[in-house]
Symmetry: C2
Subunit: 327 residues, 2 copies
């Protein structure tokens, strides 16, 4: 049994807890929280909930710690800190800061002799793997990533900060025509506006100026100004009924050319449609934790990503069984 | 520069030669053939063509030998034989015999201290990787593999052996309704007949009994009897004009459930659409050869599959560059 600790018990931590129940070779052994542990009720009977401050006292109970904090402020601090104590896995997803995060985590993990896998999830994660494989096997071509249809928490939060907005939910939607153009193999140049639209559902305060709210949304720098954005006002009841889920997904499409004159075209498309963004991410984190454990058992240390882990190490099955059944 | 040898110069060997031109860190260093080398004209200037019997005299010129023979009779004999001399890669695709082939190749490679990667291509290969990743991250669910639309050489050859048939081309076609049922997340049970249909184009001898030919095709055991098969008779000109390519492709779809009551559904779909089956396979073989070279450099020996190779080893880019650009 691989004993898994969870650091941070929000959507992601709960998702990891549920995912562990689906993996017979792994078990939850501890949950750490920055809240008062007495206030945190978990689903798994008999597992201790401890203060994050006490993590160092529980290193003997945990083979791999899955760090379920946010990328903006939690993980840059938490992952190096806990990599000094445990083998760890995180889902750090601020793409531009991955090299810096990797260096920080690598230094801590190497010093401690632990294995620390960063940026595991679906993007970065499964999407990254698909980009890597398809660019390696089709070096002449172009790769496209589309996100959605799905809820962007960051964009939803940005709209909620607008005066007169009670609640908001933002969907990122890939443009069908752009997807079809990519699948044609013509390797189109696509602008930000070409690839995605944004759809925002808003619950406004009574008497709020909807035209002003709409204007503030569609012109918001970095969030909406480069997109065609649709704003729809709905009531709180409709929001609760139709938009309480956290679906997401997207596409990685590689269009490549081969042959003597590069006359043949190949399209490799990877598509995710996820009912629950955090639960799918949790599934990737748990499989990655198995890989981290095996890498550590094999004597590795330092920071790693899914790019560094032999795929077989993510599976509970033996290499023989994998070759016999799914190769 | 990684120096690549090609064993066998047919569709696959030519595909590998073309693919090498797209990879700046690799070069073709030798081609081996069972034909008279003087009769084999290759595309790359300055590269020697040698008899397969002389391969042992050229081990110093080749870092990895890509074996481009057929799975039925060539590879079971060739891959162990040449793994005793070179690091090798093959595309052995007889799924049921992979364990036996792996054992034979492993013994030869371990004795010689070489690295031998077997069963690299798209199925087995990219499809296998997708099955492995998606089953590891979504352990509760069901995986479906569909092939096509594409040409099956084996089925085309079987039809050509029927009396009165001059030429034939068989397309395997996935059934749209079955694909949609899988994508719905309902995890349907699908029979062989539900998943694929077969379409056969036949050029018949003048005066041949078309009803008899059709009957022999649709009832042919192991090839057609479990499928709904359509037979169309065309003339030789139409065959040459419309059916000279070797397209293929297919789908690997994992439908998985997560959450406290497994109430959330996730669909991970990988889809290939290939203008040229052998050229795409060649692209996978060449990237795998890079991985074999790096595994060997890192001190590994014995038989491997894509399941054992850290993905980063397939790419010409450095790990730092990969983290910075595509993670």
């Amino acid at each position: 049994m691989i004993r898994i600790g969870i650091m941070g018990y929000g959507n992601l931590g709960r998702g990891v807890e549920c995912a562990l129940k689906q993996n017979d070779d792994m078990e939850l052994s501890a949950v750490f929280t920055r809240r008062n542990p007495d206030d945190v009720k978990i689903l798994t009977a008999g597992v201790g909930v401890y203060s994050a401050d006490e993590a160092a006292q529980h290193t003997d109970e945990v083979d791999v710690l899955i760090i379920c904090g946010g990328s903006a402020t939690d993980l840059p601090e938490q992952t190096p800190k806990y990599a000094a104590l445990f083998n760890v896995v995180d889902s750090f997803d601020t793409h531009a800061r991955i090299p810096e995060h990797f260096e920080n985590v690598d230094a801590a993990a190497k010093a401690a002799g632990t294995t620390a896998v960063i940026s595991s999830g679906w993007d970065p994660g499964m999407f990254s793997l698909n980009r890597l494989y398809s660019e390696s096997i089709l070096p002449a071509g172009k790769t496209y990533t589309f996100w959605g249809r799905g809820v962007s928490q960051g964009h939803s939060d940005a709209v909620r900060r607008i005066d007169g907005v009670i609640d908001a939910r933002q969907y990122t939607i890939p443009v069908d025509e752009a997807l079809e153009a990519v699948r044609s193999g013509r390797e189109p140049e696509l602008s930000t506006r070409d690839k995605h639209t944004r759809l925002v559902y808003v619950v406004a305060e009574e008497g709020a100026d909807k035209a002003r709210i709409t204007g503030e949304i569609v012109t918001m720098k970095n969030y909406f100004d480069e997109y065609d954005t649709t704003v729809e006002f709905i009531d709180a009841e409709t929001m609760a009924r139709d938009h309480s889920g956290i679906p997401h997904g997207g596409f990685v499409i590689r269009s490549g050319r081969t042959g003597r004159e590069e006359e043949n075209t190949h399209i490799a498309e990877y598509k995710l449609r996820l009912d629950s963004n955090p639960e799918f991410t949790s599934g990737v984190l748990v499989a990655t934790a198995r890989g981290a454990y095996r890498m550590a058992q094999a004597g590795s240390s330092g920071a790693k990503t899914l790019f560094d882990i032999p795929p077989a190490m993510l599976s509970p099955e033996s290499p023989e069984e994998l070759r016999r059944t799914i190769l």
